[in-house]
Structure formats: C-alpha cells, structure tokens
C-alpha cells in the first residue's frame, strides 16, 4: 500500500487548524496559580542580599522561592555549571553570581499573573557588580575576569585536528586564500514562547507539562536539581510551538517542578502555570553561537585543495549549554565536504557574559560551512576555475578520508547533490568541465541594480556525534483478534512542528502493512514512553524510524505467534562513534550524514544596500522522503530561516546587555521578504542504515545558504563580505558609500 513516500495528512493537522490542539500556554487546571521570574537583568554581579519580604507579604502571593530553596542548585546538558536560581544560601559554590541578564534569581507564585508580576517588582536585590567580559578574545587572555572561578579558565572546550603536514603542503600550493569570517548571533523566534504547568500528579510525581526537545533529559535534569529519584519526576510534552534547538536546554522546566514540589511540601497542592512574554523568551533562552573563524587554504593550479588551516573561536556565553558539542561539529565541518590531505584545526568555546549560545538548527555547521564555502569560492576565483568544477575535483566520495583520519560512512552523495543543484541553477556540464550560467551583473536600464549568482554545498551529521551515547526506544502494540484492529505506538520523540509524529505513524503503518487510521500514538510522556533521545541533530526520523520499525517487526512476530495483544519493544543503537583524540583529533565522528547544495540569485540595490533573493535552489539528499510534503516544508522553512540569518537578523548586545529584546527591534523575514519560490530538489539516494533508506534532513537545507548568498552578492557587487548579516548598511559600507559620505 506504500504509505511511505506519500504526503499523507499530518496526524496533528485537524487539531491545529481548528484550534483544538493545546500548546503549553493553553493548558489550564482547576485551582491553578501563576508564577513570574525575577531575572537578573545585569550581566555580571555577585548577589549580596535578596529581600523578598515585601513580595511575600503582598496579598495574593503564595510563595517566593530563591536559591536556598533549590536542593541541588545546578544544571546543564552535560556540564552542570548553571544555578537554577542565583543567589546567596545556595548549595553550590559561586551560585551567588549572576553571569548574564537572563539568569533567574527568584520565583513568585501568586493567585494571578498580575499579582505575581507586581510582587516580583517588590523584590529587592543588592548586587555587587563584577567586571563584564563580552568579547571571547578578551575572555581568553590570561588575566581575564573568570566567569566560573572554579574552572580556572574561561576556555570551556578546545579541540584540535592534525592531519598530514599543513606547512609543507602550503609550500606546494599555487594559490593560497586567507580569510577571517565573523558570523552573528541568531535568536530562534519559535512561535510559542516558553510556557508550562507544574503539578503533582495522581501518583504523587512532580509533573511538568512543557514544550521541549527531549522529555527524558528534561526529567533527568529536574530530578537532579530537586534531588529526587528519576521515577518521581514526570515530563509531558503537549503540542510544541517550534524549537529549532532553542528548547534543548532548560527554561521553565526545573522552576515549574521546583515550585510545584515546594508548594506541595507546604501542604499546597495547586498547579503552577507560567507563560513567558516574548521579551522574557528572548533573554531567557540561548542563541546561535557567533563564531570568529580565521582560515587559510591552499590549492594547486590543477584545482586540488592541498591544505586547510582553521582557527575557530565560539562565544559560549555565560554557561556551557551544548557549546562543547556545537564546537565539535564546527571543528569537523570547517573544512567542508572535501577530502583535503593536510588539515590543521584549533577550536575554542569561550565563556563570556553574553546570553548563552547553544543548539540552533545546523549546530555549528552553518558557521563552519560559511568559512569553508567562502574559501572554496575565493579559491575558484583566484584559480580562474568554475566553483562547481573546483568542488567536483575535491569533493567527498565513497571511501574518502575525513579530516579526522577515518573514512566517511557509506552512502556519500554530495557529488550527485551538487550536480543536481548546479544544473537546476543554470550551470552546464561541458567537455571542458562545469560552466556557470551567464548572468549580467549590470542591467543598463537600472544601473543601480546588480545581479549575481552563488553556489555552496555542505554535509551535516545525522544523530549524536563523537562518542555521545546514542539510542532510541520504541514500543509497538498490536490489538485485535483475527486481524490487527489497532496499533499503539509508544514513543517519547518530540514533534516540534516538523511532523515527527506523522512520520512515526507512517513508518509503523508501512512496516505492519496497515492503514494510517489504525495507528494510535502515545507520545512524549516519560510515564508511558521510553527514552528516545532528542529531536535534534536531524536524527528523529532516522533514529525513531529504526526503533519503530524494529519494534513493529518484533510485535508482528509475536502477533504471528498468536500473542494477543502482541507487543514489541525495541532499542535501536547505531554504529558507535568515538571522541576526538586530544592531540590529533583522530575519531570516528558520526554514523550517518545528509548532503545539501544550494544556489542563490540576488539583486542588490546599490543605492539602498537592500538585497532581494530572486531565486533559490536547494538540492538535499534525504535518502527516502517518508512524507514528501513535510520534506519540502523543512527545506523551505530552513532556507527562509537561514536567509533571515544571512540578510536581516541582527541581534545586538552592548556590554553584554541585549538591545534587541522585542520583535520590533529584532526582525525576522516576513512573507514579503522571502523568495516567491524555493526550488527544492529532493534527492533520494538511500542511507545504507537509515530506516527504508531515510536520512535526517531538518538541518541540511540551512547549512549552505549564507555562503551561497554572500558569493552571489560578491558577483553582483565585486566585493567579498566576510561578515553577516548583510544589512543594507554593511553592503553600502563594503561598497565604500558610507565612507565617502563621512568624508563629505
């Protein structure tokens, strides 16, 4: 019946379009109370004292919680370096410090949100300001003020790769290109700001309804901070209003659990609700890492890239979040999808007082790809060679050895992906090699408008990397007598809006040979489902797909053995990965990859500096498009999000204080600011170990947008711009227009 490969109706479609689906902020329980957070609102200080008496005495206030109320006052995804609440009386050293504006200091629980807000403003905090560190380069200096004095350095993580002999290789290169690239902070702007409800459920468990990306990891972090056994904490995800990595770390999870638990201990069993405003969301959760990347690449005149040397410095912000893992990705991807014999990489993630940076679609890949692809396009220019041709002479193929000294897993398709993108964008494959489309940069009728085209490509891992434990559970239950009447799929995986749950149902239906209508999903509740890992790293279709397929096959076997109901529980474990060797970087970084190539045609108005992207082509190898409509949706969404990153989104922090905390100051593209059409090419070269050949694909179309657009702008204007967003001002500055006016 082939349910796989069909754009079946999404399982959440009807509920969402009719407004019946409830997101965390829509949930209301009888007798609930409301919580507000007192945010630090200053970037670096020691809290001398907190006076909550006026707030506590305010009519309608049930409780005020501070650091002394947190049993184990620390959390983090991997590194527990962040206090749940900052302030004196904490169970952990240095937790009396605030390290960024969004650090949480106190919680007020009251009968209404208005009362909680008012009482929150009655809290008096005495701070002793500490020197602010807002520049990673400064933070790396020996005498820099330490963000975490117990760690001895602001350098959170560093990696190195040593392959071959870079210096010797440079001496054989005919051309060398050096560049310094600076990439910006980006805010996720998911539709639904953080919200949720904390309560004690009927079995006495501390229960949090919230939108996240990994229910069991949330559960773990809550249990750790509250000092409770895991099974006494329950996390439930209702509908999730977007995530993009922005919900990987804790926001309201622990504080909701803490408030519900502490109230319960005082004999008050009332659900606690919180809804963050957009401004709270913007200061309250992490951003995409800004990177400073210095790099040097060399090639022979035959177009063989012989060496690449890269230094990456990522601003981690005040806490670790996922910085070590994001840096790991960037370190691997900064030399692009090419086989380069000599590679030297040094990379650093550094603490500062800026808003923490962490997971965001692409996970360090887009920053690294920007540097790599700009370098390749500059090399092509310098060699007088077509940029597609140069890529084809160096691109990863089956059996290619990565910079980390091990072969890339089978199923390498970047050559095919790049070729399809280039052909669609107007390139020709001639006997002389690849040839770019002939685009006139100047239209004599409109001399202020300039046209250009650019191309770039990238690879991105699917699943957790570098030895991180990777697995995914699923349970499938078949109910019926003579024939299967109902299929229950139990799975923790988060549907952040990308359509994961529809894919779960499709894979179950396909494997069992039953129609979609028979599938019943029991999802995203730690009390009824097993650990799935996160909805991140483009891994959900791949990992959950393999797990559900495995569970369904087991259940079917049991069904055929007359078991009623027949149940199968299966844990999928992919091939092992290994961490970077500290000296050489040698590792087996990933078990699977996705591949993408993208081309952009732009029109630059040299009088305003404004850029229009008239045409955008994206070719993405998804292995197998389980639901083609959702695949196209992911491609279009990723491209638009990355165009915002490239052209418009300008998150400004001054002295570690954000100036763009509203959607009127931090702008994202509107419907009028995006190309009329994204030309998506869905390539289906199966991944050898993916479920039905599927690869991950949610991040890949994001990866190469910035370098494609920046290269198109170079062709249009004649100027390479190595820093974005390409705001009109930056364009005019690069064209020398602003300078000229300054002198006039």
């Amino acid at each position: 019946m082939a349910i796989l490969g069909q754009s079946v109706q999404r399982v959440d479609a009807l509920g969402k379009v009719t407004g019946k689906t409830l997101y965390p902020g829509d949930l209301n329980f009888p007798n609930q109370v409301y919580m507000k957070v007192y945010f630090a609102r200053r970037p670096h200080a020691r809290i001398v004292s907190i006076d909550t008496s006026a707030a506590e005495q305010h009519p309608g206030v049930l409780a005020v919680f501070t650091a002394k109320d947190v049993p184990v006052n620390e959390y983090g995804l991997g590194i527990f370096d962040q206090p749940v609440l900052c302030g004196p009386g904490s169970s952990k050293p240095y937790a009396d410090r605030v390290r960024f504006v969004g650090d949480q200091v106190a919680l007020v629980v009251a009968e209404t949100e208005e009362i909680a807000t008012h009482a929150r403003d009655l809290i008096k905090v005495v701070y002793e300001d500490l020197p602010v560190v807002d520049d990673p380069l400064e933070a790396m200096q020996e005498n820099a003020t330490l963000l975490h004095p117990d760690r001895g350095s602001n350098i959170l993580t560093k990696y190195r790769i040593r392959k071959g002999d870079v210096e010797k290789a440079f001496s054989t290169a005919d051309v060398i290109v050096e560049g310094e690239y600076i990439t910006p902070v980006q805010e996720h702007v998911f539709l639904q700001p953080e919200a949720g409800v904390g309560l004690i459920d009927e079995e006495g468990r501390v229960t949090v309804y919230v939108a996240g990306q990994w229910a069991h990891k949330d559960q773990e972090q809550i249990a750790h901070a509250l000092g409770l056994p895991l099974e006494q904490v329950r996390v439930i995800y209702p509908a999730i209003g977007g995530a993009f990595g922005g919900r990987e770390d804790m926001s309201v999870q622990i504080i909701l659990a803490l408030a519900a638990w502490r109230l319960h201990q005082r004999g008050i069993d009332r659900p606690v609700k919180i809804v963050w405003s957009r401004e709270e969301s913007i200061i309250g959760h992490h951003k995409r890492h800004p990177y400073r990347i210095r790099t040097r690449w060399g090639a022979t005149k035959e177009g063989k890239i012989v060496a690449a040397e890269v230094e990456l410095i990522a601003d981690s912000g005040a806490y670790a979040y996922t910085s070590p893992k994001v840096l790991g990705n960037a370190t691997l991807m900064c030399t692009g999808p090419y086989e380069i014999p000599n590679v030297k990489v040094d990379s650093y993630a550094v603490y500062t007082n800026n808003i923490p940076n962490g997971a965001f679609r692409g996970f360090g890949g887009p920053q690294a790809a920007f540097a790599a692809e700009m370098q390749v396009n500059k090399l092509a220019e310098k060699l007088g060679m077509d940029p597609v041709e140069l890529r084809m002479r160096n691109i990863l193929r089956e059996g290619s050895v990565l910079s980390v000294g091990t072969p890339i897993p089978k199923g390498v398709s970047i050559e095919k992906v790049l070729a399809e993108c280039a052909l669609k964008a107007g390139w020709q494959k001639t006997e002389m090699g690849w040839k770019a489309p002939d685009i006139q940069s100047i239209d004599p009728k409109y001399p202020h408008l300039r046209r250009g085209i650019g191309i770039a490509c990238a690879f991105k891992n699917v699943g957790f990397s570098f030895g991180a434990p990777e697995q995914c559970w699923a349970t499938v239950e078949l109910i019926g007598k003579a024939e299967i009447e109902t299929v229950r799929v139990y799975h923790a995986g988060a549907d952040c809006g990308q359509g994961a749950h529809t894919v779960f149902a499709q894979i179950a239906a396909e494997t069992l040979g039953v129609p979609m209508e028979k599938i019943e999903l029991i999802v995203s509740d730690t009390a009824t489902t097993l650990n799935s890992g996160s909805a991140s790293a483009s891994r959900m279709t791949f990992m959950a797909g393999n797990a559900i397929k495995g569970a369904a096959e087991l259940a079917l076997e049991n069904w055929n053995n007359e078991e009623r109901p027949a149940k199968g529980t299966y844990q999928y474990r992919p091939p092992k990965t290994t961490p970077y060797d500290p000296e050489t970087g040698k590792s087996e970084p990933n078990f699977a990859y996705g591949y993408v190539a993208e081309a952009a045609e732009v029109l630059v108005d040299t009088e305003t500096g404004q850029i229009e992207v008239n045409r955008f082509v994206c070719a993405d190898d998804v292995g197998k498009a389980v639901n083609p409509q959702q695949v196209i949706g992911q491609i279009e969404g990723a491209v638009v999000q990355a165009l915002g990153y490239t052209l418009m989104e300008n998150f400004i922090q001054k002295d570690a204080v954000p100036l763009t905390t509203t959607l009127s100051t931090y702008l994202i593209p509107t419907i009028l600011d995006i190309p009329e059409k994204v030309e998506s090419i869905v390539v289906e070269q199966p991944d050898p170990i993916g479920p039905y050949g599927a690869r991950g694909m949610g991040e890949m179309p994001y990866m190469a947008v910035a370098p494609a657009v920046c290269t198109a702008v170079k062709m249009a204007t004649g100027v390479w711009i190595d820093e974005f967003p390409l705001t009109p001002e930056r364009i005019l500055d690069a064209l020398g227009e602003l300078e000229e006016e300054g002198e006039a």
Partner: protein
Amino acid sequence: MQNPHPGLPEIEYIKPASLEEASKFLAAHAGEARPFLGGTDTFVRLRDGAWKDKYLVDVKGLDGTAQVSFDPEKGLTIGAGVAMNRVEAMPEVREHYPLLAEAIRTVASYQLRNRATIVGNICNASPAGDTIGACMLYGGVLKVFGADGVREEPLDTFFKGPGKTNLKPGDIALSLTLPLPPRGHVGRYIKVARNKLGDLAIVGVSVLAYPDATLASGYRFLIALASVAPVPLRVPAAEKVLAEKTIDEATIAEAAQIAMDSCSPIDDVRGSAQYRKLMVRNMTRRALTEVWQKLTQAA
C-alpha cells in the same frame, strides 16, 4: 536593562458623553490622562512603562470624530477616530490623495491599520510617522477642541519634538482637513525599512509636485522627511532650488543633497545616522526622479 515583562498597569477607561466633559477631564488630570483613539501605540507604551497615565479618555465617536467625508470644494475631512484602512479604501482618497493612500499602505500591517488612525499618527508626533509627510504636503490642518473652543492647527507648525506638539492638556484633536490638491499633482512615498512589512521607517521620503506656471521651473515640488530629525521635516531649501532651476538630473541631485544636509538623524538599532543621511539623499533623488518622470509623461 528594563524588566522583560512589565505588564500592562491598571488603567481607568473613561468614556465621556461630550467634548466638554472629555476636555475638562483631560485638563483636570494633566499628566495622567490622555485621549485615546486606535490605541496601537498607546497600549504598547503603557505596557512598556514608557507612559504612566492612569486614565485613557476615549474620544472616538464624539462630535464628528467618527466621520470621513470628501467635498469637491473643501477637500477631505478625516475624523480623529477613523481607521486608516477606511481612509485608504475611499475611492476619493485614491483618486485625489494618492500619496496619502500610498503612505497608509506602508504603515505596520493591514490588521493594525484596522485600528490605527491618521489623526493618532499625527498626534503621536513620532518623527517616523509614515502618513505625516503626506498630510503635511497636502496642506493638512487639524481641528482641535480645547478650553477656549475650537481652533485650527496647520501641520507645518504643529510639531515641537518627538512626541511633542502644540496640543495642551484638555485639547482634543477632532479631525484633519486636507484641501483639494492642485490639478495634475503627482506624489511618491519611499520608505526605507529593514523589512517589507511592519517595520518603522529608517528613512521616509514624501514628495508631492504639480505644475505651477508662476515658478521659474514651471513646477512646485514639496518634500517631507521622516525619521531623520526630532520632528517630521520639511525641506524648504531643496524645494526652492526645484522651484527656481530647470528640472533636470543635476537639479534633482542638488535638491537631494540639500535634503541630506538639512537633516539631523540619530543612531539606533534600526540604522546609523550616517546611513540615514545617505538614504535621505538617495531616496529623495529617487522619489523626485520618479515624480518628475510622471509629471513630464502627463504633460
């Protein structure tokens, strides 16, 4: 930094029965009460704590504020409470005041324009107000009810600074009248913003021009600039050049340069002063050129 969720303070909503009552209340509560029309700016500012008023006095519906009318002799009269979309949709506005219609279409979003008013945009006195330039160039005059009765306030002398106007406590703007524009007029509003929907103007350039045989150039050009000075800015020196010299590329460039030199923009998150100045020159030149082309095509 300020509190990320200030919350809307408690405000008392006042719905007076007459202009006199409204005016008296506003005068008696100077500094803590303000007239309330569409509320599209008011509520944002109250929530952000930028305004601290205790009372909002709803003047929509009082004595003619809800009406908009066109008279072939007297021109267009827009009641203070009339939403922008209603004005923009009027065939008479599109025919006789196309520059106003064009400017309205650049304000925020369609949904917001269902509430926002032209008179509110004017009284708010933001230098970035998109419709103010058009209203000034059409010779707009506000009718204001105050303690001493009804008076007229020409827009050219109405603005005193960001958010500051000739209005005093107890004053209520009732309507805006735009006289019938001269025959053969052509207008253009160019808004430079960070996106194409919803952003405030980094720079706004309004140009209105029409044939005038009494002038050496044969044409009268009017220019108003948004977001580049403490008040919506007219540029008489540039207008003078365009009245006196033969209109050609060089004259237009000269006028654009004068416009640039006469403004005093600030730096903010939307753009630097330097960029704004450059945009004034380039967009004034662009607007003048487009208007000039249309005028000569018509002639």
